[in-house]
């Protein structure tokens, strides 16, 4: 059942590439949309088959692939992976829908999109470390191509930077996995928590350190974040949606599944430092976002900040905070995708994203009123207004972490407040006031004569954004569905350190 989640996108991608003869762009797009819709439906089917009351892995499939290196094809889904698989299916579909005016190589484009989606599914569902690594590396080249072929003016630089950062992250992760699997003597790449009896704390810390840095690059956390703003600025809107909404989640998923899930003791030891790191990341991301002129860069930096919450929640590792982390992954996926979509609409209509230039886009007659409205909604959700997804996740994260790390949590709350600052700056500058899309010349008379009329936004262009916005509100109003889905898994994960300590039969640091 789970294999179909890999088969649909991968076979679809190959089929698109190899289909004989010329194909019109529109037909290719429809085929890709059909496949992605199928993938979404299948993900929903998996959701129906999924038993939320079971904290373990379900719907498992396995066969030995390459025995010599312990690479098994083992898939399984639990409360942590299930929501992410759904987000992946939904957001890939959204990014395919909002791909418009594709001037060149549509086949390759949609095939890569499908390939990434399949690889991400594979990474979320893998139960074998090497298999996870394989899928983790698999999305590297397609995304590099997506940025470097269909990107902005400086795309070569941004794409290469992304590639190198992610490649380094991949090899750090591989090194850690090899170390973990082989240090015990036999090649076991299954995902089990290790105990100090098996592995000394020093070794654990080294391996965990390598994993942490590897995933911190992907998430990204300060100071490994520099590739993200560049990649987002140069990537086209659909690719940004995919990157922010889905691919960054590979990092946070890895953080929860592999760092916390496999090194519970070393994690507990490092947790205070990690909480501090999270606070630094949140504050740095937020402050840097305030300083941005480019709307897309601002949203990108907001991602850096908001990903820090997940590290905080993971560091606290209480049942509530981990549930908050899952909520934050989903809601950040939806919200950042929404914001990138809307910034994309603004850019397409005005040919600029410069906050020094854009003014008054909310103008009901000649501006982009509907886009502006959705933007305000998205911004509010991101800042954590009650009634929307952002509030639930931030509340859970802070509620779960406050007792463990009061200072770090308070600092992150400040960061959450800063989100409101920079996004209000964005809305205030770009959407309020008198409509303008060119820099003011300084001459009041000339400026007043500028008659800007932006092209109207068709309903179908806003449909994906509308869908995401309703998802954001829906999740904010009715969070219990997702809560029920993940609660068992996150609770089990939170109890892991205690469990391991109990197995050790003594204190952690004694």
């Amino acid at each position: 059942m789970l294999s179909a989640l890999l088969l649909i996108p991968f076979a679809g991608a190959l089929g698109l590439l190899c289909w004989p003869g010329e194909l019109a762009t529109e037909r290719i797009r429809r085929a890709a949309l059909g496949l992605l819709l199928l993938q979404l439906l299948w993900s929903l089917r998996v959701l129906l088959a999924f038993d939320a009351s079971d904290p373990g892995l379900q719907l498992q499939e396995s066969f030995a692939w390459v025995d010599s290196i312990g690479l098994d094809y083992r898939l399984g889904v639990d409360g942590l992976a299930m929501p992410l698989v759904l987000v992946n299916a939904a957001l890939t579909l959204v990014s395919a829908i909002c791909t418009r005016d594709l001037s060149q190589r549509p086949r390759l484009y949609f095939a890569l999109l499908l390939g990434i989606s399949g690889a991400v599914n594979g990474a979320f569902l893998s139960e074998n470390l090497l298999l996870f690594f394989l899928f983790y590396e698999l999305e590297l080249i397609p995304l590099w191509l997506l940025i470097s072929i269909w990107g902005g003016a400086n795309r070569g630089y941004a794409a290469t930077k992304f590639l190198i950062f992610t490649a380094i992250s991949g090899f750090l992760i591989l090194g850690a996995f090899l170390g973990l699997a082989l240090v015990t003597g036999q090649a076991d790449f299954g995902i089990h928590p290790v105990t100090t009896a098996q592995l000394g704390m020093g070794t654990q810390l080294v391996l965990l350190g390598a994993l942490l840095i590897g995933f911190a690059i992907k998430i990204p956390l300060v100071p490994f974040h520099t590739w993200l703003p560049d990649a987002h600025t140069e990537a086209s809107t659909p690719v940004s949606v995919l990157l922010a909404g889905v691919l960054l989640k590979l990092g946070t998923y890895g953080l929860l599944r592999f760092c916390l899930g496999m090194f519970p003791e070393a994690w507990a030891l490092l947790a205070p430092w990690l909480a501090g790191w999270a606070a630094v990341s949140v504050l740095y991301g937020s402050l840097a976002a305030i300083a941005q002129r480019d709307m897309k860069r601002m949203v990108a930096y907001s991602s850096v900040g908001h990903m820090g919450y997940i590290l905080l929640a993971a560091a606290a590792a209480t049942p509530v905070s981990l549930l908050g982390a899952v909520f934050q992954m989903v809601s950040h996926g939806l919200i950042s995708a929404l914001l990138f979509l809307l910034v994309g609409v603004v850019y397409r209509k005005t040919r600029t994203r410069d906050l020094e230039v854009l003014r008054g886009l909310l103008n009901p007659e000649r501006g982009l009123p509907f886009t502006g409205t959705l933007m305000i909604l998205g911004v509010m959700a991101s800042a954590g207004m009650p009634g929307m997804a952002g509030f639930i996740s931030e509340f859970l994260v802070f509620r779960g972490s406050l007792a463990a790390f009061p200072v770090a949590t308070l600092l992150c709350m400040v960061g959450s407040g800063l989100t409101a600052v920079y996004f209000l700056l964005l809305v205030n500058r770009a959407f309020f006031g008198r409509l303008a899309v060119t820099p003011p010349s300084g001459d009041a008379v000339a400026d007043s004569r500028l008659d800007v009329r932006l092209p109207a936004v068709a309903l179908r262009e806003t449909l994906p954004a509308l869908a995401l916005a309703s998802g954001v509100v829906g999740l904010g109003v009715l969070p219990w569905g997702l809560g029920k889905l993940s609660e068992q898994a996150t609770t089990a994960m939170a109890q892991l350190p205690a469990l391991v300590a109990a197995i050790q039969g003594g204190g952690l640091l004694s």
Partner: protein, 534 residues
């Protein structure tokens, strides 16, 4: 040239006796039993092909270009079949202990023969266009193959030296095959000078071994003798022998010849040198180091570690700066040899299997890449990386093939190279070779960068950014003589590279049964397993 014929003549005599032994059959007893000449049947097939090629060449240019290719396919195919039949057969040293057809020898001989077969498929058009006699070219390449194949199974200093020289002399000739091209002559001369020096060094090392062991030439006997000899001369012999091996596999700092030779030589020859010759070099390394210097385990492993680290770092870093495709692949092959050396240094079961597996993977991915650049240079006459800009529009086949092969060389999943590399790192880590694995991981990132920059040239550049060469790209035709084999080789290598990774389980089994069927490796593994306990 004279050397070649000398070497060929000596091979002919051995082969003749082999043929006799085969003819006299198994029943006639003692001679066949002792010589056990059936072990070299695959080489005999290659030798017969060589002779037939030379004879056909006498019949004139036309007949040669008509008949030489099928003869070569038949001969090499027969050789591969014979190798397959030898697999796991009971081990009898042949020719009084100078040749042993264990599974390691069979595996590496198969790699050599396959690399020759693919190189020949790539060559026809190239040779045709350069206007040189086809039979002669095929004969020299087959002579090199013969040397390389004998080298893989040699267990005696004399037979090692003879096969080494057969391989080397034929390689010098091949490097200088484009007589009118100054760079080709330069390559041949450089190769000859450095190679002769290496051969002299080997001879010196071999003479020391001969003396130390009290007049034995068989590697096994020398190995036993060395166990009791602690004289510093042994270290000297080890260094000399190691230098020869390093020269053959182009490990830093014995790599200086590689970029120049690769750049100047005809590209199909480079394809052979980078795979076939290197595979033979690794087989030689196993025979000498594992089979003979077993008692100096720590020493040669240390030296090899240094060589591997230097090769990975220098090969991959210098490749970044290259503008010529062939030079880039030359440095990349130095780096790849460094990766393979990880497996050799481990000395564990996984280590040896990983080495064999990676050689096999390297055969397909590297030859696939060479097929693409040969095709590109046939169509455009260019070899500069910058000239590949915008190629995807004009030639999707080359773009796809070269991209997949380079990604595989860079170790990107789901290509074959990914699995090979993972296995090497896995084996290295299991044997606690942390330094090597970490260097390997870091230099892999570096290698991804330069492989990717070629792909970027081909795939990412827009039509308006295309190079002049690509803008003036000729229409694609396959009906010229020798193009169909080139296409077949290209497609075959690329398909195996792309699909072989996902279906690599049998390949892994094959690699581990290679190790299982090789006595010297089993001894080394047993020794390595005992050592930590003691």
């Amino acid at each position: 040239m004279a050397d070649l014929f000398l070497a060929a003549a000596s091979s002919v005599t051995t082969a003749a006796s082999a043929a006799e032994a085969i003819a006299s059959g198994l029943g006639t007893g003692a001679l066949a039993l002792q010589l056990n000449a059936g072990a070299i049947a695959p080489e005999v097939a290659v030798l017969l092909t060589l002779v037939v090629c030379l004879v056909v060449d006498l019949a004139g240019e036309k007949a040669a270009s008509r008949w030489v290719p099928p003869i070569c396919y038949g001969g090499l195919g027969a050789s591969l079949v014979l190798l397959a039949l030898q697999w796991d057969s009971p081990l009898e040293p042949s020719f009084l202990g100078s040749f042993l057809a264990d599974n390691l020898a069979i595996a590496f001989r198969a790699v050599v023969a396959a690399s020759t077969l693919i190189s020949l498929l790539l060559s026809w058009r190239y040779v045709e266009r350069s206007g040189t006699p086809m039979g002669e070219y095929a004969a020299i390449l087959l002579a090199a193959t013969l040397g390389a194949m004998f080298l893989c199974g040699s267990t005696d200093l004399v037979s090692i030296f003879i096969s080494l020289e057969t391989l080397s002399v034929a390689s010098y000739l091949l490097a200088g095959y484009m007589k009118r091209d100054a760079r080709s002559s330069e390559a041949a001369l450089k190769y000859l000078l450095v190679g002769s020096a290496a051969a002299a060094v080997f001879l010196y090392g071999a003479s020391l071994l001969y003396g130390l062991s009290g007049g034995a030439t068989s590697l096994a006997t020398i190995g036993v003798a060395l166990q009791t000899s602690a004289s510093p001369i042994t270290a000297l012999a080890l260094v000399f022998v190691l230098a020869t091996v390093a020269f053959k596999i182009a490990a830093v700092p014995f790599h200086q010849w590689t970029p120049d030779v690769y750049e100047g030589s005809p590209t199909p020859v480079v394809a052979f040198l980078s795979v076939g010759s290197k595979a033979a070099g690794f087989a030689l390394a196993v025979r000498l180091l594992v089979g003979c210097f077993e008692s100096f385990d720590a020493q040669w492993k240390f030296l090899f570690t240094v060589l591997a680290v230097l090769s990975m770092v220098l090969g991959n870093v210098v490749a970044l700066a290259q503008t010529s495709m062939k030079r880039m692949l030359a440095y990349s092959s130095i780096g790849q040899a460094g990766f393979v050396m990880i497996g050799l240094v481990c000395g564990t079961e996984d280590g040896f299997s990983a080495m064999v597996l990676y050689m096999a993977a390297y055969l397909f991915m590297n030859l696939g890449a060479f097929a693409c650049i040969i095709l590109f240079s046939l169509r455009t006459g260019s070899d500069r990386i910058a000239d590949y800009a915008g190629l995807y529009q004009k030639d999707p086949l080359i773009t796809l093939g070269l991209s997949l092969c380079l990604l595989s060389l860079g170790g990107i999943p789901p290509m074959l190279g990914f699995f090979g590399k993972i296995y090497l790192f896995f084996a290295g880590w299991a044997d606690h070779q942390y330094l090597l694995v970490v260097v390997g991981l870091v230099t892999s990132v570096v290698s991804i960068y330069y492989y990717i920059s070629v792909i970027k040239m081909m795939v990412v550049k827009e039509p308006q950014e295309a190079s002049d060469v690509v803008k003036a790209y000729p229409a694609i035709t396959w009906n010229l003589a020798g193009m169909q084999p080139l296409r077949a080789a290209l497609v075959g290598c690329v398909v195996i590279t792309a699909v072989g990774g996902v279906l690599s389980s049998p390949l892994f089994d094959w690699a581990s049964s290679t190790v299982a069927g090789t006595p010297i490796l089993q001894q080394a593994i047993a020794a390595a397993a005992i050592a930590p306990l003691g």
